[in-house]
Symmetry: C2
Subunit: 301 residues, 2 copies
């Protein structure tokens, strides 16, 4: 399929672009590059660690295809002999507690009996929620969504709120963003428009994070901020290991453990019954870990 070949090239190109922009913004960090090839497909894993601003991060490209296993068929609720999937998946954790963690992926899936889906997401997990940064993040996501379909932002924003949620703590992972899955080309927009949309997202991603780095990476911080960073990151771990479908599916289907768990934050703390002090910045953040916040129109408080 010519389209799929073009798309995988596009993804590889975007992967290189993200690395270039992030390296420039970080200043000293460099991405490693590891090509892998297995029976099921191939990919490129690019990891950055101990940069000047980014403590840990990665952007992975993969293209896999083959017979649809019984387990995959069950998990996906799809009947088909063969499938192809290609995607780009990325995460960055900052060193400075005033840098949020950011996460993005875009993916395309099809089967030999004609099913095809696009999926993706981009979401932000601040250690300290800043209203302006949060509003701007959502505004720029909305602008990109609105170029393609006016249902996208409201629908995908709600989806992110529901997906990036920790029921056992009754809190969201961060301020959300957008999440979409199983989107059939031709329904709301056509195949080419989908390619443009996810390309736009992958291009927006490093720019958004670079702007945040520029603004926040040099803010002074103290032990208390570092402690809170590690508490917040423990919730990130809880989400990824308990609920994230990609992580669980990868682990259970025997994927590459280190590539899958690269998403986990570098340093984490669990403290029994920890509660932020009343009136503190930590408590303010905690209070905003809720679904259905209209970040774009939220009054600064």
């Amino acid at each position: 399929m010519q389209d799929l070949k073009d798309l995988t090239h596009k993804f590889e190109e975007l992967q290189g672009q993200v690395c270039k922009i992030i390296e420039q913004s970080d200043g000293t960090g460099k991405f490693s590059k590891e090509n892998w090839k297995k029976d099921i497909g191939y990919g490129v894993t690019r990891v950055i660690s101990q940069g000047d601003k980014i403590e840990k991060g990665a952007i992975n490209f993969s293209k896999v295809s083959g017979p649809l296993s019984k387990k995959m068929s069950h998990v996906l609720g799809v009947q088909a002999k063969n499938f192809s999937a290609t995607g780009l998946s990325s995460i960055f954790h900052g060193k400075n507690p005033f840098l949020p963690s950011i996460h993005m992926n875009v993916r395309y899936f099809n089967t030999d009996n004609g099913l095809e889906w696009f999926g993706g997401c981009m979401d932000l997990t601040p250690i300290y929620i800043n209203m302006e940064t949060s509003g701007n993040f959502h505004k720029r996501l909305k602008e990109t969504c609105d170029k393609y379909h006016n249902s996208f932002y409201p629908e995908f924003k709600r989806w992110a709120d529901d997906y990036f949620f920790l029921p056992h703590r009754n809190e969201t992972r961060g301020i959300g963003g957008i999440f979409f899955d199983r989107q059939n080309p031709g329904e709301k927009i056509n195949f080419e428009q989908w390619i443009h949309f996810i390309t736009d997202l992958a291009e927006l991603y490093p720019r958004l994070y670079s702007d945040i780095m520029k603004k926040n990476a040099h803010k002074p911080y103290n032990e208390r901020n570092i402690f809170w960073q590690q508490i917040r990151w423990s919730r990130y771990v809880e989400f990824n290991l308990l609920y994230d479908r990609g992580t669980r599916f990868g682990i259970e289907s025997g994927g590459n453990t280190e590539s899958i768990l690269i998403s986990l934050p570098p340093r984490v703390k669990w403290e029994y019954n920890y509660m932020p002090e009343k009136g503190s910045d930590e408590e303010k953040t905690q209070k905003h870990l809720k679904k259905d916040i209209d970040w774009i129109n939220l009054e600064n408080d």
Copy 2:
């Protein structure tokens, strides 16, 4: 049921004993005590943190009963109207990287249509595996098991190897110990003997850990040991959140999050593709994270 009332008293008594012995061995740490009571039952949560030798630990008692929900019925594979369950569950994480994490639980479950089970476990997760300590740990477990039935140690040791295992890393959580579930009184030993067996285990537990504290809590350590401690603890987190049935069942059934996740270690690190240096103590430990090691008869190496 008189037996169950006696058993819950026994468990509460054992909880107090464990706290007393551990406090004495730690020297400065004190257990907090929190009684809880809900529709479903009651319990006592006792937590120790930032002691002289123990960084984080807990021993929880609970007694719950009520209608068996559809979900529980499905998970347990049991048909009954009502159930009762009581148990004691504990974990300790040391400060010094030469102190292992230790974990124990004992439990009893019954239904109103006559089903009853005992279950329990005790296992050790060293940061650095010491052959003598490991051999002694298993030897003392075997001695306790052998008092009741000669099938117990070999059967429950194998069960622990299989249970405390991380398939995605092809490694055990630590050096194992014993694990048993769904043991019907009357099959191998009777109800009273089961009570004696699990009482013996709960009494052995703090003594075993106190002996290890005495031996190891004052060993000097460096940054490298601390780093490795946090890497090993990240595997502990992966096990508990991805595989541990108690943790997942507790989280999914809406149990008390902080009481369930008290099991997670205090400080954790994830580093991409970390591998211990060849010939190092870390590598030696890594190589021994395998099933089916006969710790009791292992030659010192």
